[in-house]
Symmetry: C2
Subunit: 135 residues, 2 copies
């Protein structure tokens, strides 16, 4: 039997895979395709961005600069349905950057708000925070 | 006429007021009451917490230590309905801490996922990131 939670987890894993593939191809447009047109995005410096176009363009920029040739790997922490068409998920990503101010290995934790719209599931809200070193 | 967006903004402002009042009273339980029983919370160090009890207890801890006598002020950035019973909102908070490792003034940007349940609206997902200084 497929439970609601199984379905939520599959939706989340599929979208994380899209993000991971887009990131590892260094392709801002492919990364952006996982998002709704009106998506909201909060990045690791607390900067807030609105809209798929801005998200795609912003990632294209970092893929060509500080995160050039970096590799990301996403793992799902949890996913649960809030209603039939909305899933709240959390993920951890591990990033390896060969150069730039964040060169090296680091991890982040993300909140993802997933919505079902015509054409399938998309990310409507994404918020990402670097995991601080243990004190 | 009250639009859907007006209603979403009111829901978000009411919950932000609850957080602000709980914070400024240094009352972890009052802060926690804004959350659903199964709420998810990602804090500024990328640490992930689950459940109202953990959120209330964690805040009670910081209100008695690093954030003792601190003052928080929340401002809504945007709120939009994803479905009838789910609102996605973003807020900025300004915090003044008199002592501890984060003494001084700093700001954060939050994503809030609000859900309607019996008894009213609650926060089901909260994610908070410090705004980095301008480079």
């Amino acid at each position: 039997m497929t439970t609601l939670n199984d379905r939520s987890e599959k939706v989340a894993r599929d979208l994380l895979k899209q993000l991971e593939d887009g990131w590892n191809a260094g392709d801002g447009e492919a990364f952006g395709k996982a998002f709704t047109e009106d998506a909201d995005f909060v990045a690791i410096r607390g900067d807030y961005h609105h809209g798929r176009g801005a998200i795609a363009k912003g990632h294209e920029g970092i893929f060509n600069s500080i995160y050039k040739d970096s590799r990301a790997s996403y793992g799902l922490l949890q996913a649960r349905a809030l209603t039939d068409g909305v899933v709240l998920a959390h993920a951890r990503s591990d990033l390896s950057a060969p150069s730039g101010p964040l060169a090296g290995e680091h991890s982040s934790v993300s909140t993802l708000v997933l919505v079902h719209e015509e054409g399938g599931w998309k990310i409507s809200g994404f918020h990402n925070t670097l995991v601080a070193p243990t004190q």
